[in-house]
Amino acid sequence: MRVLRRALALLGLPVLLLATWWAASAQSTNVYYPPLRTILRTFRHVWFSDRLRNDVLPSVLRLLGGYALAAVLGIAIGVLIGESRTVRGVVEPVLEFLRAIPPPVLVPVLILLAGIGDTMKVLVITSGCIWPVLLNTAAGVRATDQVLADTAECYRVRGPARLRYLVLPAASPQIMTGLRQALSIGIILMVISELFAANNGLGYAVVQFQRGFDIPEMWSGIFMLGLLGLALAGLFALAERWILGWYHGQRRASRSR
């Protein structure tokens, strides 16, 4: 019975919304809002084909590349900033300024500096994804529990060991928050990087459809983006549950006390 209720809560509203959309658009003759049935049919026709390999795959690879680079750089710089007040003081205004530049605005700049190939696209993604990772890492590192830090100091856990056993695990909940935000940003930038000088990709395909007035195909592309976002979010949630198992357990324990 409980399973049924949970399934209802989980799927109830989405199913209701989809059903409403289906019904409301079934008779639609509006070019911009084709019937949901048409969109779904077009979806299968467009995406279950070579497009998956020729468009979706390159996009996803570029996304993963930019995301990974942003994660590594963001965590590294974030740790440096979090650990040293001096570094923080020097670097903070510079980062504040760089962070305020919208990544799409950097695209023309990056085209000048890195050309129009995959490198530019990966850099565009990195330039946006790095910020939530960096800021959250710095905040997480700064918030390391003082008693724990003293304990590590007393037992002479220093240098790389301190990073591995104290700093990074202590900051990991907040780092994961940053990585989660970076994922959403990454998808957005993946699309934007393909709007300018691209010849393949998911974002490229959607814009091509829009320019060619292939409206149902365009909507199916938007759906695809949503599904991609959902799939990545789901994978991330699984990874997060595994990595932060200790954290969730600890919070559950303290809540029940």
């Binding site: 509203l13 911009y32 020097v90 305020a100 530049i101 605005v105 000048l112 957005i188 709007l195 983006l225």
Partner: protein
């Protein structure tokens, strides 16, 4: 490094900024990167000075800020209202949780083609993107704030039989307020980014559109391009600073506002 350690915070910051400017001056001049791709800092500043003298620049800036302000206001009102409602009524929260999770990852850029079709290059297309992206920021923060209500306080309220309105006013609102203000600050930043992005990609009036024009105007406009990028960054910094000051002014009592020891 040791020299820097004793300096006060603002001095360190100046060192950093000066370092960046110096880097931007030296790298193009030394030939590491060609000057036509990355103009020296002094050239940038000169181009910026020229821009500030033109009426087109200020008109573009005005458009951007207008779209930003309107979009932000709508998003905050909607996000706060929906967040408070969903957070307070447990049944609603459970029923809508999956929908929120599904819609949340849909990137706002997915709406760009739709915006173009509906509104072409008018300001409404900018607004569509700005409101969509900012709404989520506010909503998620408010939801986090509502769920952060101290369980002991909540039980105390229940044992004193406070009605839903009283609970909202004395229990939920003070707890959620800091989160809401953080959400507004984050949404303000996102709104600005989306506004400029929409203008850049769609072509609606504003700073973003000016940047796109500069990019397609060839080599002579490269310093102008960079100057406009600089302006965008400065506007972003200003917006962030204003909202952070506002947050501090409204919440001096909150622990997150206390200076680190």
């Amino acid at each position: 490094m040791r020299v820097l350690r004793g300096l006060p915070g603002w001095a360190l910051g100046l060192v950093g900024l000066a370092g960046l400017a110096a880097l931007l001056e030296v790298v193009p001049r030394s030939g590491l990167v060609q000057a036509k791709y990355l103009p020296p800092f002094s050239t940038l500043v000169r181009a910026l000075g020229q821009q500030v003298g033109t009426r087109g620049f200020w008109s573009a800036l005005g458009h951007t800020l207008l779209a930003w302000a309107i979009g932000l206001a709508i998003a905050v009102a909607a996000g706060a209202a929906v967040g408070l409602l969903l957070g307070s009524v447990r049944f609603l929260h459970a029923a809508t949780a999956s929908t929120v999770e599904f819609l949340r990852p849909i990137p706002s850029v997915a709406l760009i083609p739709l915006a173009v079709l509906l509104y072409n290059v008018r300001i409404q297309s900018t607004l569509l993107l700005v409101v969509y992206a900012s709404f989520w920021q506010v909503l998620l923060q408010v939801l986090a704030g509502v769920s952060d209500v101290d369980p002991v306080a909540r039980q105390t309220a229940r044992s004193y039989r406070l009605g839903p309105w009283a609970r909202l006013r004395y229990l939920v609102w003070p707890t959620a307020l800091p989160y809401l203000l953080t959400g507004i600050r984050l949404a303000a930043a996102v709104a600005l980014i989306l506004a400029v992005t929409a203008e850049l990609v769609i072509g609606s009036p504003g700073l973003g559109h000016e940047i796109a024009l500069a990019q397609s105007s060839g080599e002579s406009a490269v310093p102008v391009l960079y100057a406009l990028v600089l302006v965008t960054g400065l506007v972003g910094v200003a917006v962030n600073a204003v909202f952070r000051v506002g947050e501090r002014a409204l919440l001096p009592w909150h622990p997150s506002m206390r200076a680190p020891v």
